[in-house]
């Protein structure tokens, strides 16, 4: 059985880092990632079961890791070698209990909630965050009977989604997929849950003006979350949701998923300015070009990119005392925080998910959103695992190549009994 294994290898890491400057995803062949023959991961104990991946997505954080661009912050939160892949829909290889406590039979389709929190780590009593269902905020992701790893896909003990050998999954990570959802729909549930968590914890108020920077998978998931959850009354309805996306197909999807209006990314600030009746600090003059900062701005901006440029642009379009939510994973960035200080903007991170305000689990809501939005259409291409270099290059250039989500398709891979799924 095959898996893509990411090893600690400084030389390859540095090579990947250098090559990725030419474009994200180009370093898959020379970096620390390699296709290897592997055995299925050992089940760490009671409550664990093997999950056979059907589809496994390639996420922005995976690309950052492969490109050698992810933050050193994560060094102590991962363990090597690991098999990437945390956006997973798969089938149970044995009976199990779900995260919600229901019994699941072998063969049940499940989506993995990848966070390896206290329950999965055998830590009892759980930390205060886990006790309240906020597994994304688990305080023990480097402790317990597992080696460090904030999620499946970054932990040496449990495998990952980019593998035909399966994943060791704890019952706290299992969510049964409703029958009416396709595999494509299901593989988007994890990023949808991230977006739902970001949206539900953003403190959105009735009539707020919302800006979304970036219209890749996370940006589009955020649009879908806002439009669906507000229509269903889970969150107040914003006055308008304005989205900036670099590519035409991204803007098309954003519009279809319920954005009020969509714009090329460099026009979003102008659009927000128009909607909020703001002025521009250092506005256009005969000598200068358009100023970089709105005098007012959106009430909430979701930065779904996570680069220095996107954060700076987001800060410039958030109103004083507004909120800037980092949905996209940032790395080490150089930023001028004077506007943050002066305008008293709340800059908040949004990682993972859990029991959301209102008492429902983000994955529960994500299944609803995925069904309503037919989120499977965001899956633009699937690749077999042995074409991983092409797959990762495609994911790294998704926008340019007219794609949104690239996944590995593991459905044709032989199972542990030698048959094919």
């Amino acid at each position: 059985m095959k898996a893509l294994v990411f090893e600690r290898n400084v030389a390859r890491f540095l090579a990947a880092r250098a090559v990725s400057r030419l474009g994200s995803g180009r370093a898959a062949g020379i970096g620390p990632l390699r296709l290897a023959d592997v055995e299925p991961p050992e089940l760490p104990g009671e409550g664990w079961v093997h999950v056979r991946p059907l589809l496994s997505g390639i996420c922005g954080s995976d690309l950052a890791t492969i490109d050698g661009q992810s933050s050193r912050y994560f060094e102590e939160l991962v363990s090597f070698p690991f098999v990437p892949g945390h956006e997973v829909v798969g089938t149970l290889e044995g009976p199990a209990r779900s995260a919600m406590g229901s019994s699941l039979e072998a063969g049940t389709r499940v989506v993995l909630e990848p966070v390896l929190a206290c329950a999965a780590r055998g830590i009892d009593p759980p930390c205060s965050a886990c006790a309240q269902g906020n597994t994304g905020a688990c305080e023990r992701v480097a402790f317990g009977h597992l080696r460090p790893g904030l999620q499946t896909g970054y932990c040496a003990d449990v495998g990952g989604g980019w593998s035909t050998a399966g994943i060791a999954a704890h019952s706290s990570q299992l969510h049964a997929v409703p029958d009416h959802l396709s595999d494509n729909d299901a593989v988007t549930v994890e990023p949808l849950a991230c977006a739902i968590h970001a949206v539900m914890s953003a403190g959105l108020r009735e009539d707020d003006l919302v800006g979304i920077v970036g219209a890749g998978t996370l940006g589009l998931a955020t649009v879908a979350a806002i439009s669906t959850l507000s229509a269903d009354g889970y969150i107040p309805a914003p006055r308008a949701t304005l989205v900036g996306g670099r590519y035409a197909h991204q803007r098309h999807f954003a519009e279809e998923l319920g954005a009020t209006a969509v714009f090329p990314e460099d026009q979003l600030a102008r659009a927000i300015r128009r909607h909020c009746g703001s002025k521009v600090i250092g506005g256009p003059s005969l000598r200068g070009s358009v100023g970089s900062r709105l005098s007012s701005g959106a009430d909430i901006v979701f930065d779904c990119v996570g680069s220095a440029g996107s954060i700076e642009a987001s800060l410039a379009m958030t109103r004083p005392r507004g909120r800037l939510v980092l949905v996209g994973m940032p790395g080490r960035v150089h930023l001028d925080l004077a506007p943050l200080w002066h305008r008293e903007i709340a800059l908040v991170g949004s990682y993972a998910y859990g029991i959301e305000p209102g008492g429902r689990h983000a994955f529960d809501l994500a299944f609803e959103v995925a069904a309503r939005c037919r989120a499977g259409r965001l899956v633009s291409a699937t690749y077999p695992i042995d074409r991983f270099e092409e797959a990762i290059a495609h994911a790294g250039a998704a926008g340019r190549r007219g794609a949104i989500k690239i996944t590995f398709d593991l459905r044709g891979a032989p199972n542990r009994q030698g048959g094919r799924q």
Binding site: F263, R274, G283, L286
Partner: protein, 529 residues
């Protein structure tokens, strides 16, 4: 030699390739045999002594009006308004006619002991003029005498204290104009009637008005019913302005109108080939064309723009008339027709034209795609009296690079119009209903209009409305050599060669269409029978 009148020439086997303007450049295109080409008349001889002519006009006014010297008295409030940077095109060599006229008016005012004199640039919702532009229009002497004392002002259509509502016309149109002008004992308006649309009551009713007033005639309905807006009797735009102008007169505001007209000596000697018919080009013309076209093609657009915007036209005063607004305007229009009129028999299936680098709204600026549309479908399409040159359902082929470039300081709301409105609709009525007011009242645009050099927030809408008649009339608009995405954004079709464009046109008008090429500038007015 007597200047030759305009000409409609038919292309035959011996006709050389003809010049098409292409923004900041040119192209020679070979048109199919049988194509009609409409050439402008040659420039008429200007007034030999313009100063004397001005003084004569001021002392011998037309219509029901006393000589200017009789209207001037000590202690009175005199306001002199003048056309802004949008006229003439290209900017003329110094001294500008506004300077010549205003110097004479000021001399008479000084002789009469008038010391409360204010100058107002009547810019409506256009951008404010810069100091160099004002100095060019008025001359240093006037500028230095008035500007440092705050007596040279620019109309501010967004200054609530600076406007006065005079009432409503019988059709309910608000008439709100500049307070200083309204409260003056005499308003002298110094106008340049470059084309037949300019002047008359439009000078004050538009040039000194507010958005509240302008919206009554700058809208899709009015523009669709102005056929054309270059022909005042057939123009709803002018009917509305005339109603307003008469209300202004009835409210007791005394206007002494001075309208000047210019000949069409448009380009300086180094661009002399632009004034001549191609088959009459000398060897020197051909060499100059080849060298200029090649150099322009190679240089960055920005540099080419700088070169063209530095052009100062040698055009000179053809006539000056002063007195009562309507009587003055009638004579000015007759003068423009004498210079620009060309009789054309019948309409055509396909009309072609090359668009130059300049229109009234990008002087010293960038011709953005909306202005390209306005110049082609607004101005040039409407250069007719009687019937449009192109038949209903016909095709208009424009040549222009149509780059999606904008001057951020001059045209900030154009950028948003391009990105936020044209992406949603190109229907003038729809955008009027849904978007206009939010742009017109946007506080940032208002701020930039009042304090910077930006066109008013609503201005791009007006530019699009100016296309409304053409958009309704035409079966298709093809932009030759234009940026495909910008062209498509505006609902037009891009073509890379004239042959492609003509082939595309046959999809709409059928095979073997009649073709007419409008060979302008220099400007002309087609009198289509």
């Amino acid at each position: 030699m007597t200047p030759r009148p305009g000409l409609v020439m038919e292309v035959d086997g011996s006709t050389p390739p003809l010049l098409f303007w292409n923004g900041e450049g040119f192209r020679l295109e070979r048109l199919p045999e049988g194509t009609r080409v409409v050439y402008a008349p040659e420039p008429l001889a200007p007034l030999a002594d313009p100063i004397a002519a001005i003084r004569h006009a001021l002392e011998h006014p037309v219509g029901d009006m006393e000589p200017l010297s009789a209207l001037l008295r000590p202690g009175m409030r005199l306001t002199i308004c003048f056309d802004d940077v949008s006229l003439p095109l290209p900017p003329m060599r110094s001294p500008d006619v506004r300077q010549l006229v205003i110097e004479q008016v000021l001399e008479l005012a000084a002789e009469a002991g008038v010391d409360d004199v204010v100058l107002i640039a009547a810019l409506a919702l256009h951008r404010r003029m810069t100091e160099p532009e004002l100095r060019h229009a008025l001359g240093d002497r006037i500028y230095d005498a008035f500007a440092p004392h705050g007596l040279l002002t620019q109309h501010d259509a967004e200054d609530p204290e600076g406007l006065v509502h005079l009432g409503r016309t019988e059709q309910g149109e608000d008439v709100e104009i500049n307070r200083r002008a309204a409260e003056s004992d005499l308003v002298v308006y110094v106008n340049i009637t470059l084309v037949t649309m300019d002047g008359g009551h439009k000078s004050i009713a538009t040039g000194l008005a507010s958005y509240r007033s302008l919206r009554h005639h700058h809208n899709p309905h009015t523009m669709r019913h102005s056929r054309s807006f270059m022909d005042a009797p057939a123009s709803e735009l002018h009917s509305s302005n005339w109603r307003m102008g008469r209300l202004i007169a009835e409210s007791g505001i005394r206007v002494f109108q001075i309208e000047t007209t210019l000949n069409t000596d448009t380009f300086p000697a180094q661009f002399g080939f632009l004034q001549r018919r191609e088959w009459e080009w000398t060897l020197r013309d051909r060499a100059t064309y080849a060298a200029t076209a090649a150099a322009l093609d190679r240089m960055p657009a920005r540099l080419a723009r700088q070169i063209f915007h530095a052009i100062r036209a040698p055009q000179a005063m053809l006539s000056v008339q002063a007195g009562e607004v309507e009587a003055v305007h009638e004579r000015a229009i007759a003068s423009v027709w004498r210079q620009q009129g060309v009789a054309v028999e019948g309409q055509t299936d396909v009309l072609t034209m090359g668009l130059p680098y300049i229109c009234p709204y990008n002087v010293n600026s960038i011709m953005n795609p909306i202005l390209v549309a306005c110049l082609g479908l607004g101005y040039f399409f409407n250069l007719y009296r009687g019937k449009p040159l192109v038949r209903e359902g016909g095709v208009l082929i424009l040549r222009h690079p149509t780059r999606p470039e904008f001057h951020p300081g001059h045209h900030p709301s154009y950028i948003d119009f391009y990105e936020q409105v044209l992406t949603q609709t190109t229907d003038p009525i729809e955008m009027h209903k849904v978007y206009e007011e939010s742009f017109a009242t946007d506080p940032w645009y208002v701020h930039l209009y009042r304090t910077g050099h930006a066109y008013h927030g609503v201005h791009p809408f007006y530019m699009w409305y100016w296309c409304a008649h053409a958009l309704e009339h035409l079966g298709r608009v093809i932009v030759l050599g234009g940026n495909p995405s910008a062209v498509r954004r505006m609902g037009f079709s891009p073509a890379s060669t004239l042959q492609d464009a003509l082939e595309m046109a046959t999809d709409v008008v059928g095979p073997s269409p009649t073709i007419t090429h409008l060979h302008a500038p220099p400007l002309l007015m087609a009198d289509v029978s």
